[in-house]
Amino acid sequence: MSLELRIDDLSKTYPNGVRALQNVTLTVPTGMFGLLGPNGAGKSTLMRTVATLQEADSGSITLNGLDVLREKDEVRKILGYLPQEFGVYPRVSAEDLLDHFAILKGVHKRSERKEVVAALLHRTNLYDVRKQKLGTFSGGMRQRFGIAQALLGNPRLIIVDEPTAGLDPGERVRFHNLLAEIGENVVVILSTHIVEDVSDLCSKMAIISFGRVLVEGDPAQAMQAIEGKIWQRVIPKEQLATYQQEHAVISTRLVAGKTVVHVFADERPDASFEPVPVSLEDVYFSTLHKAA
């Protein structure tokens, strides 16, 4: 059965006046869905709302007809959630805590639980340290533990918020593989500000900023849309301000100590600019640039 999560006209304003979500409407199909956005864009608010942890002021979320905002208990049964920041009981071992979470997830048969926990620890490469107290885990190990717990049960809606933060490249690759594998049959929402994660994994994506959805769709299509409109040039650092005034500079970065700017323009601005193949990053930055 194919799943579809519909977010319809969702809004949320915090008591301090911050409008975290403004009329957000998204359709998330089965498979990996990337949610891109800068810090403070409202990604986490959106994720938490889908993960039953936060109320919305208005709008609705449904998962194949299941009202996510009202029937939280039902949602939780099929939910796997890895929050952006999370801690652990420092004096409990990885194995024991995962076992405990398995109980909370409704896995009550001891033998089954043992098997599942062992499998997940293997998957997240924590099996060797399963007896170690969680308090002694490094950031990466803890993150992997978080992934393990999110996969407990049979989650059909998986929400992972900045999952690769703190992982080394090898761990990241393995995590991606794991997600890709799971993502075949379930809805996976991956929130991140690392564009590469999305381009590597996701067949669908959205970019949000200041609580609004700026772009929604297929990463490939999005890249195609700006094909031939991104230009690059190396500039002296002092002139950055001038360039920013004169051109639509969407991103700046250092390459081997030199400042490289990407500019969005329908035509080549001048000869000193050269065309570059479009990356998802350019989509991301040009979208944010337009919105700003």
């Binding site: 942890l53 939910l79 409990v92």
Partner: protein
């Protein structure tokens, strides 16, 4: 630079709420303590001015102990902040020097810590301006005590605390380690105090106390009211040393920190971050994840239950393994241990660790710790996931909301139960260690269930729901604190009903004799009531439990509304109904079946009665000459019924027309019939009834006055219930349950502040001895002189009932047991009834020297007394056929320990008193145990009720200890002479005749039995208590011969005075005077004799050179400061030793307020030289002589033939000396 950092730090803290919260808290606490008596900081203010320098110093001193928590919060934050926020790198990469950074941070945060104490200062200043404060209790404003206390008490203590915990925080960079070390600090502090309790040298102990508390109280323990109102602690002695020592230690600690601090060590570094998950990815399994991770999930009620149990387990384990839990429990265990050593000690002698005592120890020493654990972990548990940032994970789990909090609440209950179980194991261990193997697990179980566990659980529930509802850990703690403060302030607001005092139950103590008696039912009912209330709170907690990340109030209300359905609503409704129903039942008992009366109501009633009837105080009334009474006790129903007749006689010279009868207004029936008399008025509230006789009662004429009184307990009461009439161990006397003639001044309010409040004139505590009118009454009774008593008492068939007099007959009728008692010689109008299931031990004393250890006449008396033995006392005092005296001890079968000791003490007492004073007027001495609702022993004619709480469970196995069972028994037996043979008029000095003479008699019996060395130990306690308690005098200190029923004078000083008198003029002379006094005054009056007449008799036997001693001892308040300045010994050629001594003596005369003036010394004082003794005791005296001291400093040269070890002035401290320890010096 340092300055700038310090100022920055200070400003930072002044912007944080913590500073204001703490200052407000300190202000409120102190303000309440200053303006009311409801809140107490470090001992009550007593009669000292509310703004007295002593009070200011004491408040700031006690509050400075809290500085361990408050100051640590600031200084630890000063170091943690940077590491926590990651700004450490900013600082340590800047050009600031490390020491500047540290010192600046320390000074700034330490200054904030000190500023919190301005809350205390302001509270005292502002509090004493409040209009409702009695102006009489305010001294003039003075800034000096505040400045002194801040700079010499608060600042040094906080500096030390700040230095220590700043260092711990800086060196460990761990908040957990810092707070654990705070707890460890307290543990060490209390343990070291417990360990040093036995160290004789108080000065060392006091110097080592980091808070300076011991040195402060050592320096001020004997301060009088006058001193407390006017003086500041003099800077010097142990206190100064203490302050210097600890500031130096603080500096040292800071120095070490500056030296050891390593800024590169990061905060909260992972302990062993072995990155085992390394680079090479494990081979990925090729099966699909869902197949690999396939699992069955089940949800529903059974699954929820399993989730609940699993969560409870993990929460409980987390708490048990956490350091603060272990530390607080250990702290409690140590406190139990310390308390079990101290509990019930009298004169240093411990009690047997019977279970009842151990349960009380747990209650006193551990319950608070259990509550602290519950309150602390309530916050910890409620916020655990949020603190760890695990809440987003767990809240998104498919778990019903109730599981999340219920598991935590259950864990809280389990850890409370565990801590209480640990307490019980501790006391069981103590019992075993003391060789006491009578474990009463039933008593433990009942005690913990009735006294401790429910209260801890209720408070845990309250703390838990406060944490949920207030949704902030610190607000939650503050809420608990506020509850404690408000709850203790309720009585001051005249709100005393327990229906609104959370977790409270009517008071009631366990007694081995009576068990929990009638306290069980009210306790269970009140616990049910509060459990239901807590259940409602818990439902509210469920409704407002924060799940998810949205904790806005609006959101929580919305969630609560959504959750208020089905089971939650039903539970709430059920609890509410049951709560209201239980409340009604309580109200019915406390306010309908019984009268609910607050302390203020009672006071007002007393004041009203006094205002209405005091005018009749001098009204001539007939006097009782004989009492006949049938008393029916109904122990099971806690009721008694009295029918009796007084024979009343007009002993005045004029006819009496009106008879005024007073009675206890709580009695169910109080009928009085006087033939032909009419009731003119009856004030049922005051219990005051006036009769007009048909014909005035002519002088010398007699009337029978018959009465029927009935008392019956109904349901339960809100306050203190009647503990006189109980199921097993009834003990009543005639004052409470019989009718009385004339105005009863015992109902008057005594507290002079209260009297002022109710507009009553200051009370004259006692009339002077010159008041002949007052001397027409004896000290015991204003309505009778010497009477005959004939009484029959009945009780349940398994109990024995007793009253003064001799048993005439006992029989059983109507399933009740009857005892008929009758006196054969006149007694005072003071009699009692006791009834219990007693075991009885009997023995006989014969006046002839008995075989068992009795000394022959003359033996044991001090040699050198040349007075001839006195002739026998006047013959009319001899009871017919003076012969053997029956001794009977009626005791609870559980308490056989000291019964033989009591019998022995009775025999020894009878030996001494009959030989030295006069014959014993009765043929019997009975000691009767009664429940420990009161802890005293009291002497009625031939009958001595003795509380189970003192003598019966005293542990006398260690022969080194003072045998106070022997002492108390001897004292009470002595009252058969001092009170029951000779009684003084109701004027100043009356209690000297009764209590001081009983003390003297007991001292003599004890000395014969235990020797002089033990007496010194005993008298040291007496001296200490006299000096301490005189500081609490409310009105004025009287000389002994004018004592106004002041226990510290008639017992404590009395012992010292009589022992000194005996020392100056000799035992035989003292006893000769006493014999004469008895001969002159026994069984006589009115008018009754006075202490002045006894002093006159003492003077007659005192040689001229010691007449001034008698004056000082009995008619003045004289203190000495004797001291040996220098003492050397040199060996002479002939093998003898020359001891050279320089001694200093100051003599002080105190006025009634404690203001002392030096007076010229002109006294005979002991000079002694001693051989080496064991431990700190003096050895064998090599030289002992009274020397006439006339100069402040005198030198002596003494030759002794053996090797001397110690020498000095007044070595046995027979004189009243505040510092007896410097009287002698090692050679």
């Amino acid at each position: 630079m340092t300055n700038a950092i310090a100022r920055f730090e200070l400003r930072y803290h002044l912007k944080q709420p913590l500073f204001y919260i703490l200052t407000a808290l300190f202000f409120l606490l102190t303000f309440s303590a200053v303006t009311s008596d409801a809140v107490v900081i470090g001992g009550g203010v007593g009669n000292v001015n509310r703004n007295a320098p002593f009070v200011i110093m004491q408040f700031l001193l006690v509050m400075s102990v809290f500085g361990v928590l408050t100051t640590t919060a600031f200084v630890a934050n000063a170091v943690h902040r940077d590491f926590e926020l990651g700004t450490d790198a900013l600082f340590f990469s800047s050009p600031i020097r490390l020491w500047q950074y540290l010192v600046g941070r320390f000074l700034g945060s330490f200054a904030v810590g000190v500023m919190v104490y301005l809350g205390v200062v302001l509270a005292i200043m502002i509090g004493s301006l409040m209009p409702w404060i009695d102006k009489e209790r305010l001294g003039p404003f003075a800034l000096k005590p505040y400045v002194f206390s801040l700079f010499f008490i608060v600042v040094p203590t906080l500096f030390l605390i700040g230095a220590i915990f700043f260092s711990v925080a800086a060196l460990t960079r761990s908040m957990m380690a810092t707070y654990s070390s705070v707890v460890a600090f307290f543990v060490l502090y209390f343990v070291s105090r417990a360990l040093m309790r036995d160290i004789e040298n108080e000065r060392i102990v006091s110097v080592l106390d980091p808070f300076g508390v011991s040195s402060f109280f050592l320096a001020t323990r004997y301060w009088t009211v006058f001193q407390k109102n006017t003086q500041i602690l003099p800077m010097g002695g142990p206190f100064l040393l203490n302050r210097i020592l600890w500031v130096a230690i603080g500096l040292l600690v800071l120095g070490i920190t500056l030296w050891k601090f390593d800024p590169t060590k990061s905060f909260r570094a992972p302990k062993s971050a072995r990155n085992l998950g390394g680079g090479e990815p494990a081979p990925l399994p090729d099966s699909s994840p869902s197949a690999r991770l396939g699992m069955t999930q089940t949800f529903g009620r059974a699954a929820s239950l399993r989730q609940y149990l699993a969560t409870t387990r993990i929460e409980t384990k987390a708490v048990i393994k956490s350091i603060p839990f272990v530390i607080i429990v250990l702290l409690g265990v140590f406190n139990i241990w310390g308390n079990s050593v101290a509990v019930g000690r009298a004169f240093g002698t411990p009690l047997y660790p019977v279970t009842a005592v151990m349960v009380r120890v747990i209650n006193n020493a551990f319950a608070l710790f259990a509550v602290i654990i519950a309150a602390f972990y309530a916050g910890d548990l409620v916020f655990r996931e949020r603190t760890l940032r695990l809440n987003e994970v767990t809240d998104a789990m498919p778990v019903p909301t109730w599981v999340l909090w219920a598991a935590k609440l259950t864990a809280l209950a389990i850890i409370s139960a565990i801590s209480i179980a640990v307490a019980m194991l501790t006391t069981l261990t103590i019992q075993t260690a003391k060789g006491f193997h009578h474990y009463e697990l039933g008593v433990y179980g009942k005690g913990l269930v009735l006294e401790i566990a429910p209260i801890v659980l209720l408070l845990a529930g309250l703390a838990f729901t406060l944490q949920i509802l207030l949704n902030n850990k610190y607000l939650g703690f503050f809420g608990m604190l506020l509850y404690v403060v408000l709850d203790s302030a309720l009585p001051a607001l005249n709100l005393e009903h327990r229906l609104y005092s959370f977790a409270s139950t009517p008071p009631g103590d366990y007694s081995d004799m009576n068990g929990w008696g009638h306290f069980v039912i009210p306790r269970l009912v009140f616990f049910t009531y509060w459990m239901l209330f807590t259940a409602m709170l818990i439902v509210a907690g469920h409704l407002f439990w924060v799940r998810g990340t949205d904790a806005a109030f609006r959101q929580r209300v919305r969630a609560a509304r959504a959750r208020l359905s089905g089971p939650a609503a039903a539970a709430l409704a059920f609890c509410l109904l049951a709560f209201v129903a239980t409340g009604c039942y309580i109200y019915y008992n406390t306010n309908v079946l019984n009268e609910y009366r607050t302390t203020k109501d009672s006071e007002r009633r007393q004041a009203d009665a006094e205002k209405k009837y005091k005018k009749f105080q001098g009204l001539p009334q007939p006097r009782i000459t004989a009492v006949k009474a049938d008393v029916d006790l109904d122990p099971e129903r806690r009721a008694l019924d009295i029918r009796g007749v007084y024979t009343i006689v007009n002993k005045t010279a004029k006819p009496i027309a009106d008879v005024h009868v007073t009675y206890n207004s709580d009695l169910a029936v109080a009928d009085v019939t006087i033939p032909g008399a009419k009731i003119r008025s009856d004030d049922k509230q005051a219990g005051y009834r006036m009769y007009t006789l048909a014909q005035p009662l002519a002088p010398g004429a007699t009337l029978p006055m018959s009465f029927h009184m009935r008392y019956a307990a109904r349901g339960f009461v809100n306050g203190q219930s009647n503990t006189n009439v109980v199921e097993n161990g009834t003990f009543i006397n005639n004052f409470g349950y019989f009718p009385h003639l004339g105005y009863n001044e015992h109902i008057e309010l005594e507290d002079r502040n209260k009297r002022r409040k109710y507009g009553l004139a200051p009370i004259e505590r006692m009339k002077p001895q010159s008041d002949l009118q007052a001397r027409m009454n004896n000290q015991i009774s204003r309505e009778a002189d010497w009477i005959d008593l004939d009484t029959t008492v009945s009780t349940s068939p398994d109990q024995i009932a007793l009253a003064p007099g001799y048993l005439q007959r006992t029989w059983t009728a109507n399933g009740r047991r009857y005892f008929h008692y009758k006196t054969t010689s006149p007694i005072l109008a003071f009699w009692s009834y006791l009834s219990a299931r007693y075991a009885v031990k009997r023995d006989t004393w014969s006046p002839l020297p008995s075989g068992e250890g009795g000394r022959r006449p003359g033996e044991g008396h001090e040699s050198g007394e040349k007075l001839r033995p006195s002739s026998a006392a006047s013959p009319h005092l001899l009871p017919e056929g003076e012969g053997p005296v029956a001794i009977e001890i009626y005791y609870d079968p559980k308490h056989p320990y000291n019964v033989d000791r009591m019998i022995y003490a009775v025999k020894k007492s009878l030996d001494y008193y009959t030989r030295n004073f006069s014959p014993y007027q009765h043929k019997q001495v009975r000691i009767l145990e009664f429940p420990r609702y009161s802890t005293f022993a009291q002497s009625f004619p031939n009958t001595i009720p003795f509380s189970e709480g003192i003598g019966f469970i005293a542990d006398l196995r260690d022969k080194e200890q003072i045998d106070y069972v022997f002492y108390v028994t001897a004292h009470e037996v002595a009252h058969q002479w001092w009170a029951h043979q000779v009684i003084g008029g109701n004027v100043q000095g009356a209690t000297m005749l009764v209590e001081t003479m009983a003390q003297y008699s007991a001292l003599m019996v004890m000395e014969k039995e235990y020797g002089r060395e033990k007496m010194e130990k005993f008298l040291r306690y007496e001296l200490d208590r006299y000096l301490r308690d005189r500081g609490d005098e409310l009105v004025k200190e009287m000389p002994l011969s004018q004592v106004e029923n002041q226990p510290y004078i008639h017992y404590r000083k009395g012992s010292l005075v009589m022992y000194a008198l005996r020392d100056y003029i000799g035992e035989e002379r003292v006893n000769a005077a006493l014999r004469k006094f008895i001969r002159d005054h026994a069984f006589s009056g009115p008018p009754y004799t006075t202490a002045g007449e006894l002093v006159r008799d003492f003077r007659e036997v005192t040689p001229p050179e010691y007449q001034s001693v008698v004056t000082d001892l009995f008619e003045g308040i004289v203190l000495y400061d004797n001291q040996t300045r220098e003492a050397t010994a040199t060996k002479r050629a002939d093998g003898k030793y020359v001891v050279k001594l320089t001694v200093a003596s100051t003599k002080l005369r105190s006025d009634a307020k404690g203001e002392e003036k030096p007076v010229p010394i002109d006294d005979w004082i002991d000079i002694g030289v001693f051989a080496a003794g064991k431990k700190e005791n003096l050895g064998k005296p090599l030289f002992m002589e009274k020397r006439h001291i006339t100069k402040p400093i005198e030198s002596f040269e003494i030759v002794v033939s053996e090797k001397p070890a110690r020498a000095g002035i007044d070595p046995y401290h027979k004189l009243i000396d505040r510092n007896p320890k410097d009287n002698t010096k090692s050679l």
